[in-house]
Symmetry: C2
Subunit: 117 residues, 2 copies
């Protein structure tokens, strides 16, 4: 079964609450995850919410990585969407799990773009 | 069951191939989808690939909207991730389906951040 894209949905729980509200740390972590999986970074956009929480995206030539953090719950939703065989999204997932100090996590992999042809 | 986020995964097939490589049209469509669902736009980033295909994100105060297009297949992967009850992601989905001329589509809704507490 051939799919155009591979989409990992990460649920990261019991993370290090301090870093979930540190925009510099999160930017560095997401860029490190992109680098670990062999992706080419094209752009990034991060936003700090009040009183807490950060959303961040790194656009890569092979699609994107996204995080949304809820420091008050120690929870992070992260997505890693990649196309092609030159990148290894599982490595990006492992990098995020480790850097965010998630004591509990789940990863769901979804195939995107399964075409009839 | 309370979840922090609602995540719609759209598979859009048999779309209007012309518009899938038109960065101006896609930016306008994604911003219209964000507006339709009542979201507050914080930023955007779009990239045109060679020889074809576009990736675009609109970051909203309530999370994000993303598209990746494959004009050669008439296929688009789109994500609508929202938090809170002030937005209606289903309206954004309907806007994208209509504007991209998808003759066939599926929408999967995933609850993100279902916490124990």
């Amino acid at each position: 079964m051939n799919a155009l894209g591979k989409h990992l949905l990460l649920e990261l729980k019991d993370c290090d609450k301090e870093v979930l509200n540190d925009i510099g740390f999160l930017k560095s972590a997401l860029l490190a995850a992109a680098s670990e999986c062999g992706a080419t970074v094209l752009g990034e956009s991060f936003h700090q919410f009040s009183p807490q929480g950060i959303s961040g995206v790194v656009v890569i030539a092979e699609s994107h990585l996204f995080i949304h953090t809820w420091p008050e719950y120690g929870y992070v939703a992260a997505d890693i969407f990649t196309c092609g065989n030159s990148v290894q999204p599982g490595k990006a997932a492992q990098t995020l799990i480790r850097k965010l100090g998630a004591k509990s996590h789940s990863v769901v992999e979804i195939q995107r773009g399964i075409l009839d042809t």
